[in-house]
Homo-oligomer: 83 residues x 2
């Protein structure tokens, strides 16, 4: 399992409730792909959303987001991190 | 105080030790700007590094990174988040 950071660039105006809703949509299907979405951060002004997940592959991350209705614009494996 | 996610796009090949070193360089000067860098994630392949901080402004985040020798390419306030 590897950590991934994926990025959405088209979520201008996203609200706290909408962020929670899209996150719940990911959680509803993630187990079938072996993915876990851990955290998310949103900048409503620029429409940027960052999602941190643990997953077997970038494709698995993409499939969960696509099935939940919001394909990401970028997915990066982030094998290095500081906690 | 607001959370910020800043992004560096030019750190291809960064190692775990280098990530720790640049993070320590931020920690050494952050207090003077009222910033705290909390977490960082790196994708050595694409050279992308994400830094999560708590700060009074995006300019304060930029000043800490610049003083530590690594100006970011993007800084986004991320007032919404899921933990």
């Amino acid at each position: 399992m590897t950590q991934f950071m994926d990025v959405h660039h088209d979520m201008q105006g996203i609200t706290d409730e909408q962020l929670k809703r899209v996150h719940r949509a990911d959680l509803a299907v993630e187990k079938e792909e072996g993915v876990h979405f851990e955290r998310a951060w949103a900048d409503p002004e620029s429409g940027t959303v960052y999602c941190l997940s643990e997953a077997p592959s970038a494709e698995a991350v993409r499939r969960v987001h696509e099935r939940a209705g919001h394909a990401p614009d970028e997915i990066h494996a982030v094998p290095l991190s500081i906690w």
